[in-house]
Symmetry: C2
Subunit: 282 residues, 2 copies
């Protein structure tokens, strides 16, 4: 099997490592606009050698793992070059814009829109992890628009990597994921910002931080280059989640202001119910 | 050494386990208003036997590990009963109210106000962890108000358990800890609430949640009985942090609304600086 990976960061690099383990003998080619990342990906043996768009025609699988704004353009360029049997899939955190941008492409059936719910707060080829996708959910959108044979090949690969498959339409995906992923990143970034601002005047504040703070603020280490276009493409859903989140915070603040600690207790108790749900995630 | 622990939940229970390991031969007595917890603490061998206030006089160390509203009353009751050589310390997440409530007590010098920055999102005796305090910060307030000999004994114990000591005045403690601990809990609870509310209409939403969401929402599993009095006692500081957090979220939302994604990028990039700081915590 010949795989070509476009974008050799955390996600692209982790696909390389996972595929090497799952499919011995696989040939992995790759590219990255960042020369340094491309060199590192070779040094780390993520890819066997660099390859450009002109080689896409001969690939069995092309994986697009670049920021979601770039992915829209890259997907079209790749589809312009695919062979009749080339499967192309992406791994982006927004799906509506991408699916719309390729909807009318003559080679649309070579494409499968995917979103593996997997990642860490780190980025770049050195952040790649072999088992990143193991036991993770992979959301596939508009599966009916992909050629049967290529659907099959994609599912075989995802199964080998240990992923659970969920099918959704792109709009539902973007709405749901705004809540369980995009909002978490904003809450974390703004929490980090709030404490950093305070630190300017009150030194040593972080010396008092424990594991609870580290956990809630972990995602504030994430890459702005990856997340800015996600927020841009999922703007409407994110604004809705942010509005609801800010309203809930404002209401909780009012309860404290008005010494309604009975209701503060009940608010937290009702939310404790999330324990059961989270046990299913971890 | 004879230790008496009042409150046999996560913190009290973890002190029991850690002291047994650090001081072989220690005798540990304990009490809990919750009969079930008291029984469990005996079954788990956290304590050797139950003991009431009447035995405080003969204890070398009394540890108060109850919710912060109860701690104020318990501290006074314990100080009413201490022997001349009894060290009493607490472990609560707010310090101003407690220090004020015991300020005029004739046995104030038997007391040391402490706050080990250690915990998990779980509670009760079964949640106790032997190495909970190892490599954690312990904030001590108003150390000068504790008798020299008892300061010494406390430091010996904290050192044996592997804790770093920081000295602060109670007001600075409460202000700092509002940022790096209390705010994280509220942001997490409200994030959980926002997503749970959405789930009522959109089933399966949690099926899409990954490790990022789990991390930011972990603290929403915390005990309302423990956290409500903390928010009550640290009301003013918490309202200030919440105001700043909500302002930052609202500004970020405006940037997205106005398509100012250049500034969205810069906001996140500036906050990325938190990476370096967090490396020091973990």
């Amino acid at each position: 099997m010949k795989v070509q990976i476009i974008g050799l960061g955390l996600i692209g690099g982790s696909f390389a490592l996972a595929l090497r383990k799952a499919s011995p003998g696989v040939e992995i080619l790759g590219s990255d606009v960042n020369e340094d990342h491309l060199q590192k990906a070779q040094n780390l043996k993520l890819i066997d050698r660099p390859a450009g768009l002109d080689e896409v025609e001969n690939a069995d699988v092309v994986i697009i793992a670049v920021p979601v704004d770039v992915a829209k353009k890259v997907a079209i360029e790749v589809l312009d070059h695919v062979g009749i049997n080339t499967l192309v899939f992406d791994a982006g955190s927004t799906k509506t814009g991408l699916c719309e941008s390729i909807a009318a492409h003559p080679n649309r059936r070579n494409f499968l829109a995917a979103h593996p719910i997997a990642g860490t707060e780190f980025s770049g080829p050195a952040a790649a992890v072999e088992d990143l996708f193991c036991n993770k959910t992979n959301i596939i959108c508009e599966v009916e628009k992909t050629a049967f044979k290529l659907q099959e090949r994609a599912l075989e690969i995802f199964q080998k990597l240990g992923m659970r498959i969920r099918y959704m339409d792109p709009k539902a995906h973007d709405r749901h994921i705004a809540y369980v992923s995009h909002l978490s990143h904003i809450s974390s970034f703004m929490l980090g910002k709030t404490v950093l601002e305070k630190e300017r005047n009150e030194k040593d504040i972080f010396d008092l931080a424990g594991s609870g703070f580290a956990s809630t603020v972990r995602l504030a280490k994430s890459s702005p280059a990856m997340w800015t276009p996600i927020f841009q493409q999922n703007k409407d859903n994110i604004l809705e989640t942010l509005e609801e989140y800010i309203n809930n915070l404002t209401k909780f603040k009012s309860l404290i202001e008005n010494d309604n600690f009975n209701e503060v207790f009940l608010e937290m108790e009702r939310t404790n119910h999330i324990k059961k749900i989270l046990n299913g995630i971890n």
